[in-house]
């Protein structure tokens, strides 16, 4: 007798020993038993008289609950520096292995986030993400949060791997696009303690000198439509 036959036989025997299935639901009376085959129509009939719940998506877009787990967002400090330090803790926490991060060193000429380290490559693969939010909990700098955006479908696989520029939060009112130096006299600690509340003149001057055409400079603001300030794929 082959191995699989053996297993089969044992299973058969075990099945034979099992008790027959008994439902826990209360037993119906004789009328109930008789009407049981058409009882389902009752459900339909009842719903004829209820308000419709069908959503007219995509014609009408209903807002989600405020804490809905949607697309991620990489936040910025008030002066425009990125909050992400490339620590990979989000990638570490992710149960679906959806996040890929490569860090690099900030340099005086290329200061992207406060401190020494920033996330050079940041990708979230929305084909893998299960929107559990564990990455958000892991992030030590509150760089990563989730938005309510739920329209995450697309025709290609590559397209669903969101890069850093797709995830970065839109530039706020006065923010100055990174890279630029930190506020003079501050440390990364000052940023975490929220002691920085916007770009200072030195930072603006630095950007003016290095990127005179930067659309986030006060003089360029509003002059042109700002392209790709982040905030998902419009």
């Amino acid at each position: 007798m082959s191995g699989s036959d053996e297993v089969w036989k044992v299973n058969r025997e075990r099945d034979a020993q099992r008790e027959t299935f008994e439902s826990n639901l209360p037993k119906k009376g004789p009328i109930g038993e008789a009407l049981a085959p058409v009882a389902g129509f009752g459900v339909s009939l009842r719903n004829f008289f209820r308000p419709t719940v069908t959503e007219q998506y995509p014609k009408v877009k209903v807002p989600t609950m405020p804490r809905y787990h949607g697309r991620h967002q990489l936040n910025r400090h008030p002066d425009g520096l990125e909050k992400c330090i490339g620590c990979e803790l989000c990638a570490w926490a992710c149960p679906a292995d959806a996040i890929y991060v490569e860090a690099d060193s900030n340099t005086p000429d290329h200061q992207v986030s406060p401190g020494e380290r920033y996330g050079r490559v940041y990708q979230i693969n929305y084909l893998r993400c299960i929107f559990c939010g564990l990455c958000i909990e892991a992030c030590p700098t509150r760089a990563l949060t989730m938005t309510n955006e739920y329209e995450l479908a697309g025709p290609t696989r590559e397209g669903l791997i969101y890069e850093k520029q797709d995830l970065l939060a839109p530039m706020g009112e006065n923010m100055l696009a990174a890279p630029h130096p930190m506020v003079p006299g501050t440390t990364d600690g000052s940023y975490y303690r929220q002691e920085v509340d916007g770009p200072v003149e030195e930072q603006v001057a630095w950007v003016r000198e290095h990127r005179p055409d930067d659309p986030t400079l006060p003089e360029n603001r509003g002059a042109t439509t700002v392209e790709n300030q982040g905030g998902g794929r419009a």
Partner: protein
């Protein structure tokens, strides 16, 4: 090979029996409590303790409760306070209670951990050690769940660059002193030490005025702290690996990755002939770092910085991935079949017909055993020539005869362990620190127990660190010096276990091999040959030398040729005397060689006119990882795999087989496989398609019997060199460990730790140049100008410059090797 292979049998040792957490354990006398606990699987947390370093008791994390029998009746008496288990040796009847069984010990450990964390910044998210940090792990397992510390932590400016490669974040340091103990005890580069006291205690560097730097400064910039100067050591990377926190990091790996990203593959270093065990950590097919693996019989816990940091070369933008064929003067990408056909057709066109010229093979010293075997088999079976040489450096027939007679196929000779235990070591043409890598660390381990004698033009800093005595020898005069060694050195060599080490530069000294062997036979010392490159010993074993067949068989002995021919299933092997690398380059330049097959050779390593050779050779096939100078001049370029992308075997200088597997899977092929495919174009089955096939062939061939080996060459030591005239000097030169070799390309941080190139001369020789601060060393071919450093005790009439350091490419610029007479001119 296992650790026991080195020793005949374990000696009987005194043992001690003690009880740890209720478990009785018997260990050799003198064992530390922490080691005894490890043996019964009890883990005691620790930071400063490291098995390869002397106990320090610096961190106090390993506290345990100890009681030992005392008094006349041997009553168990407990120590009043917990004791550091990493500094206390076991005694008979001792009772140890660790944190598992003693609340007192557990409380003590938690307290120490709390103290250590007081000033430790909680910057794990930006710290490279995060995820593999003993402090992180032990704080989780043995620390308090919550911190009670509410005050401001101590901060330092960070990071402090100890060198261009090694960065120190002092606030993360737990003052365990592993790094300082390593640099003092193991490497002998005491450049860092504890400074200040109390909360301000920190690791820092010494004052330059305290230590005499004397021309051994690193190339790169390094910041200065309160007192000091730059950390310059060839072994500094080990401190990064043993630092139990993220205080020491390397610039190359800083912020690059996290341990959970990395795939670790064990491998063998391709950088020197020691065959050090390493671990390659890679992410998405890209190497991010290399670490030392513990191999007790070879490199123990350490590797050199070159082994650790030099890996970027293989992924530079000039990496070859597809074959190239020259069409209308341009190298263009081609398919493999097309390139192989073109290569074979080109070689055939040169080697057949009316104006047929010969073919020759240069394999390069970095190939594996299998690759070397394939190169020589291709030369002998397909190209019908003995013009094959893997020694891309100065080589001699005398050396070849020595290698055939004494080295090839002799298996394990002198080992690392024996070298360490040798009472006397005489170094000839060999600088352990610059040319040996971890060999230096092994010799240094015996500092004070071993007499090292350097036969060299001057006592280098490396030799000084070994406590070596100098037997001065001008380059080329080593043989005469060996024949006439001081009586005390001869006596010391007569002690059992003494070793004479010959380096690759012994080939530059006529008669040195014979003299060393005479010395060995008259004193009973053993001879070890320690070449520099990783592939040299394997090439000797595989027969990739013009006069040697596999296993040490001499080409000149007909019976040996017939034996190999029979094994290979060919009628006969070529019997004409083959040319060595220099001979091949010369012949090619003169137009007598039509086709060249060149492996991993850097043109700038050869003194011959390589450009002319490539020009005059009718057809050049280059097997290369990158677009090298030779590949650029070739007619067909076949891409081959770097060591991390192929399996293979390096044979280290001991004769130990150091096999390694593929670390990163790519579609790049090994040289031996490419040559196997190439041979098929002639209809020849080379049989070198796989590592297994080559090893089976090598095993079947075995080592040569004595009658088949070459006879030792009788080379007379030259009569006394004429004393160089004024304005001339004899050139002495060797490679520094960190220099501008092709395998160190693309790693600026490592390059910064290499030493500044200087020219060295004795005071008298320097004085003859007048008031010079720099020296121009020149030959007819060119000149190099380097800052002058007057070196005490140096042989007069000699000038030393590094072979391939920044601003000093001797082979390319001077076209001269050690022993040549060069012109020297002082410059203010």
């Amino acid at each position: 090979m296992t650790a026991t292979a080195d020793k005949p049998a374990a000696e009987v040792v005194d043992t001690v029996t003690l009880t740890i957490d209720g478990t009785e354990v018997t260990v050799p006398k003198g064992t530390l409590i922490i080691r005894a606990a490890e043996q019964v699987g009890i883990e005691i947390p620790r930071f400063c303790d490291h098995p390869a370093l002397k106990p320090a008791g610096a961190c106090r994390q390993c506290l345990v409760d100890v009681a030992s029998p005392a008094g006349p009746e041997g009553k168990l008496r407990a120590f009043p306070k917990p004791q550091a288990s990493c500094t206390m040796t076991v005694t008979e009847g001792m009772v140890v209670n660790t944190q598992h069984t003693s609340e007192e010990a557990d409380r003590a450990q938690k307290g120490v951990m709390e103290l250590l964390l007081i000033n430790h910044p909680l910057d794990c998210p930006v710290c490279d050690k995060g995820g593999e940090c003993p402090l992180q792990n032990q704080a989780m397992s043995h620390g308090r769940p919550e911190s009670r510390f509410v005050d401001v932590k101590r901060v330092f400016e960070k990071p402090l660059a100890l060198s261009s490669e090694i960065l120190l974040d002092r606030e993360r340091c737990v003052l365990c002193q592993r790094c300082t103990r390593f640099s003092k005890e193991i490497a002998g580069d005491a450049f860092i030490d504890l400074q200040n006291r109390g909360a301000q205690q920190q690791i820092g560097t010494f004052d330059e005025d305290v230590l005499d730097f004397d021309g051994y400064r690193p190339v790169g910039a390094a910041t200065v702290d309160e007192a000091g100067k730059a950390f310059s050591s060839y072994y500094s990377g080990n401190t990064v690996q043993i630092c139990p926190v993220g205080a020491l990091t390397s610039a190359a790996y800083r912020f690059r990755s996290r341990p959970f990203d990395l795939v670790s593959s064990p491998s063998i270093s391709e950088h020197d002939s020691s065959g050090s065990a390493i671990r390659i950590d890679h992410r998405r097919g890209k190497i991010l770092r290399r670490l030392a693996e513990n191999d007790p019989v070879v490199n123990e816990d350490w590797i050199s910085d070159k082994d650790r940091f030099a890996f970027a070369w293989q992924n530079l933008s000039d990496r070859l991935t597809r074959p190239l064929v020259r069409k209308d003067g341009e190298l263009v990408e081609a398919s493999w079949p097309e390139a192989l056909a073109a290569a074979a057709a080109g070689i055939k066109a040169q080697t057949t017909g009316d104006d047929a010229r010969g073919a020759a093979v240069l394999a390069g010293g970095r190939v594996t055993l299998e690759d070397a075997y394939a190169y020589q088999k291709l030369a002998r079976v397909v190209l019908g020539t003995n013009d094959v040489d893997a020694r891309a450096r100065t080589a001699s027939d005398e050396e070849q005869a020595f290698l055939g007679a004494q080295v090839a196929g002799t298996g394990l000779g002198v080992t690392f362990g024996e070298l360490e235990k040798a009472p006397t070591v005489v170094l000839v043409g060999f600088e352990p620190e610059d040319e040996g890598g971890v060999v230096f660390l092994r010799l240094r381990k015996s500092l004070g127990r071993q007499q090292v004698v350097a036969v060299a033009p001057f006592l280098s800093r490396g030799s000084e660190k070994l406590g070596a005595t100098l037997v001065p020898a001008a380059p080329g005069r080593e043989a005469a010096v060996l024949a006439d060694l001081p009586a005390d050195v001869r006596e010391a060599l007569a002690q059992p276990g003494a070793v004479i080490v010959l380096g690759e530069r012994a080939a530059e000294a006529p008669g040195a091999f014979a003299a060393a062997q005479d010395l060995a036979s008259s004193t009973g010392a053993r001879v070890a040959w320690i070449p520099r490159r990783a592939g040299e010993r394997g090439a000797v074993e595989a027969g990739a030398l013009p006069g040697l067949l596999p296993g040490g068989r001499a080409v000149s002995v007909k019976a040996a040729r017939d034996a190999v021919a029979a094994a290979w299933g060919v009628d006969a092997l070529p019997s004409a005397k083959g040319r060595d690398t220099a001979g091949i380059v010369k012949a090619a330049a003169e137009g007598t060689i039509g086709a060249l097959v060149v492996g991993g050779v850097s043109a700038s390593d050869l003194t011959g006119d390589v450009a002319a050779a490539l020009e005059s050779a009718g057809f050049v096939v280059s097997l290369e990882v990158r677009r090298s100078e030779i590949a650029e001049a070739a007619d067909v370029v076949l891409p081959v795999a770097p060591p991390s992308e192929k399996p293979g075997t390096f044979v280290n200088w001991e004769g130990r087989l150091r096999a390694f597997a593929t670390a990163i899977r790519t579609d790049a092929m090994s040289d031996h496989r490419v040559l196997d495919l190439l041979a098929r174009e002639w209809g020849v089955e080379l049989g070198t398609g796989t590592v297994e096939a080559v090893n089976a062939e090598l095993a079947a061939l075995g080592a040569a019997e004595a009658a088949h080996r070459p006879a030792a060459a009788k080379v007379k030591a030259p009569a006394r060199n004429p004393r160089p005239k004024k304005g001339a000097a004899v050139l002495a030169t060797w490679h520094q460990l960190v220099d501008e070799g092709a395998l160190q390309d693309g790693e600026p941080y490592l390059a910064g730790t290499g030493r500044v190139a200087v020219a060295r001369m004795s005071a008298a020789t320097a004085a003859s140049l007048g008031d010079a601060v720099s020296v121009e060393v020149s030959t007819e071919a060119g000149a190099v100008e380097l800052p002058l450093v007057v070196t005490e005790g140096m042989v007069d009439g000699v000038v030393w410059v590094p072979v391939k350091s920044p601003g000093s490419w001797v082979a390319r610029d001077l076209r001269a090797a050690a022993g040549a007479v060069v012109s020297v001119k002082g410059a203010a």
